[in-house]
Symmetry: C2
Subunit: 133 residues, 2 copies
Amino acid sequence: MNKIEHLGIAVRNLREAEAVFERLLGAGPYKRETVESERVTTSFFRMGESKVELLEATDPQSVIARYLERRGEGLHHVAFAVGDIRAEMQRLKQAGFTLLSDEPRAGADNKWVCFVHPKDCNGVLVELCQDRY
Amino acid sequence: MNKIEHLGIAVRNLREAEAVFERLLGAGPYKRETVESERVTTSFFRMGESKVELLEATDPQSVIARYLERRGEGLHHVAFAVGDIRAEMQRLKQAGFTLLSDEPRAGADNKWVCFVHPKDCNGVLVELCQDRY
């Protein structure tokens, strides 16, 4: 793992949250993208070598919608950039971490992604991210 | 704001959490520091231009202890690096954000810090950080 790729923030209303984070960070989002498989619409802000990702649910049964119901808005996950996601998944599995998928999945922003169970990371939902291109 | 300075994670047991994050991130912490004014002991891991900060309460009445009671372990705050913290505090105040102190305070890792109220940032506790030296 070589940097924080992005920090994911669960929000109820993407348009309103975009305005808040534009005021906070001093610059607007560089892209908005819907990830059908995850049932979210995401909005990305650049912050140095990392990004801030806002996530709004597109379906009341999605992971983000259920998270908002349970915990409210706020910090949802941290994603770390990796060079070889399969090797990193293998390393973490051998180190005793529970992965939420057996294979990398196609995530937002042209990434292969895999999540690590928060129960193994002191309550933190950790995402691994590898560039797809 | 020019980068994610660090990501703060609230943990119950710093020593155990350090071992978890060392396995997860592939390298150990570079420093441990107690901040008496905040009643926390912190542990820092490098991650690219950012850091991961683990926080353990040193007092059951501290902010971190109360957070753990209410929400459990997990992502607690995100800190952004700023060049001039007073100017940034002024800018945010004018933009309608509520700051949790009127003056910068001495934080961990040789920083001047100020927090922004999570109610103004979609539930995210935001910290501004300026180097003290």
